[in-house]
């Protein structure tokens, strides 16, 4: 067998030497060199040739080559000097400052969202949550109060089995007319043995009533006709807590009736707290739409026609059926000049 017979034999043998043949080709070469002496000699010559070349000593680059390359690169402005430490710090200080500003903005946004959440919660919160607000809020003196008042020496704690007990504080610019109207209404609706006598001449008129719920309902129905003359009406509902009262600002006659008509003492308390919170929210909202919003879920409110002062005329009884039982309630009405 010669090279002429197998023109690609050298290529095959070189591939064998270099380990670039697949398994089948390797087997074929091994078979050839085993059976053909000339091919075996040729393989040995090629292998020796390769070894002679690969045995040439390795020559390292001259020492100055790196410097020459760097100089050449600098000439072409391809080798950039490392960034100075001061510049690096300046860049990173800027990044830190930017991060601080971002965090501050995020914190402000979170704070704003929290405030909005509290406001929205106050408006739409369920009754149970409003109860919590009643016990927690400490409003300023000028703002409508929704607190259980303390340090009032006239307050007497009531037991859970007692009837409604409270004090209605009215302030008006026309106190004499209002007092006169109240006197007439009391005479018309409350029996003499169930009322105290007003004390004229004092800056604040006071009427202590211990009457049936029915009579109280009649009296309040009359008072409702002059309610537009009242600048401020605050109801202090006695509780079973010592020195504690539920304060309802801007109270309306129908709210007093609603509270007083509750048979259960706890329900009275709950109703009073509800109106306290409701009136408070209403006072803080300019549109006062909240009454409409919660009307469906809250206690049924009474719709009362706008009152007309009928001085000297017989009082009109518009709500005779609201409180029709004879259970006793306690209410002190005070009138003060504003």
């Amino acid at each position: 067998m010669s090279q002429n017979e197998f023109p690609d034999i050298d290529e095959l043998l070189n591939g064998f030497i270099d380990g670039e043949l697949d398994q089948r080709q390797q087997t074929e070469v091994q078979r050839l060199i085993k059976h053909d002496k000339h091919i075996a000699e040729r393989l040995q010559e090629l292998r020796n040739c390769r070894r002679l070349v690969s045995s040439l000593p390795y020559t390292e680059a001259p020492q100055e080559l790196l410097g020459d390359i760097k100089a050449s690169l600098e000439e072409r402005k391809l080798l950039v000097q490392p960034v100075p430490v001061r510049q690096y710090r300046r860049e990173h200080e800027g990044a830190r400052h930017l991060l601080f500003r971002k965090l501050t903005t995020a914190a402000a946004m979170i704070g704003l969202v929290a405030v909005l959440a509290v406001v929205i919660y106050t408006i739409v919160a369920p009754q149970a949550s409003i109860d919590k607000l009643v016990a927690v809020f400490q409003p300023k003196e000028s703002e409508p109060a929704v607190v259980i008042a303390a340090a009032d020496t006239t307050v007497k704690p009531v037991s859970a089995g007692m009837e409604f007990s409270g004090r209605l504080e009215l302030k008006t610019g026309t106190s004499s007319e209002v007092v006169a109207f109240i006197n007439k209404a009391i005479e018309s609706n409350i029996p003499a043995d169930q009322r105290s006598t007003a004390v004229p001449g004092r800056p604040r008129e006071s009427f202590a009533l211990t009457c049936s719920r029915q009579n109280l309902g009649l009296l309040l129905a009359d008072l409702d006709t002059i309610w537009d003359r009242i600048d401020s009406a605050t109801l202090f509902v006695d509780t079973d807590q010592p020195k504690g009262q539920i304060v309802i600002d801007a109270v309306a006659p129908e709210q007093i009736i609603e509270i007083a008509k509750q048979d259960d003492f706890q329900t009275q308390q709950k109703s009073a707290k509800y109106f306290a919170a409701l009136n408070n929210i209403e006072q803080t909202l300019p549109g006062k739409e909240v009454l409409t919003a919660v009307d469906e879920k809250g206690p049924q409110l009474i719709t009362i026609p706008k009152p007309v002062l009928t001085s000297g005329e017989e009082t009109i009884k518009k709500l005779p059926t609201q409180l029709e039982d004879s259970r006793i309630v306690h209410l002190t009405i005070t009138v003060a000049e504003r």
């Binding site: 690609d8 050298d10 290529e11 070189n14 591939g15 270099d18 670039e20 000699e41 040995q44 010559e45 090629l46 292998r47 020796n48 040739c49 390769r50 070894r51 002679l52 070349v53 690969s54 045995s55 040439l56 000593p57 390795y58 020559t59 390292e60 680059a61 001259p62 080559l65 790196l66 020459d68 390359i69 760097k70 050449s72 690169l73 072409r76 391809l78 080798l79 950039v80 000097q81 490392p82």
Partner: protein
């Protein structure tokens, strides 16, 4: 694992840093490959001064074009491609200008060296590389034989037998087909063997 494969682990990182203008990374890349590229170029052009200059030009071109390196091949084969192309172009120009002649060296062969290479080639026991490397005269004759090959064949011999590249890597460096590498290497070794046998 070949030497070529084992050195490319951190090349991608160094190349990226080099692109960002990191002079330290650039220096590390040069230091990593300068000896190997210089040695390969020296075996192709056979002149130390020319090899140093060509190696310098190679790295300048590598750094100059580092943004164009797409990573389809390894940085190692890409850098070698630039170096080998520069060297082969230089060799072609030298021949045209008549700057390259080995005739003088031919006349320097002493009578005692006659048939030395042929004896090594036909030796049934393969030559010990350490013995060959220590024999300066033998090395000179091998280099002389190499220089009698044409440039393209010499390049493929150098990349395979000196640099230890695989056929695939040689194909990437020389930008030729794998089959061309096989046939060119085969012809180069056959020619080299004949040249070695013919050296008196």
């Amino acid at each position: 694992m070949t030497k070529a494969a084992s050195i490319s682990i951190n090349d991608a990182v160094l190349v990226q840093q080099c692109r960002q203008g990191d002079s330290t990374a650039t220096e590390r890349l040069i230091l990593k490959y300068q000896n190997r590229i210089y040695n390969a170029i020296l075996r192709i052009c056979a002149n130390p001064d020319d090899a140093a200059e060509l190696t310098q030009d190679t790295f300048v071109k590598v750094i100059e074009n580092i943004d164009k390196f797409e990573g389809r091949s390894s940085f190692y084969t890409w850098a070698f491609r630039i170096g080998v192309n520069l060297t082969l172009n230089y060799c072609q120009r030298s021949v045209k200008l008549g700057l390259k002649s080995l005739d003088a060296e031919d006349n320097e062969d002493s009578s005692k060296d006659k048939g030395v290479l042929k004896a090594f080639l036909t030796d049934d026991s393969s030559p010990d590389p350490a013995v060959v490397a220590q024999n300066k005269e033998l090395c000179r004759l091998v280099v002389k034989a190499l220089m009698k090959l044409d440039d393209a064949q010499r390049a493929v011999i150098v990349l395979r037998d000196i640099e230890g590249m695989s056929y695939t890597q040689i194909a990437e460096v020389l930008d030729i087909e794998l089959g061309t590498v096989r046939s060119r290497l085969s012809r180069a070794r056959t020619n080299l063997r004949q040249i070695m046998e013919a050296i008196p």
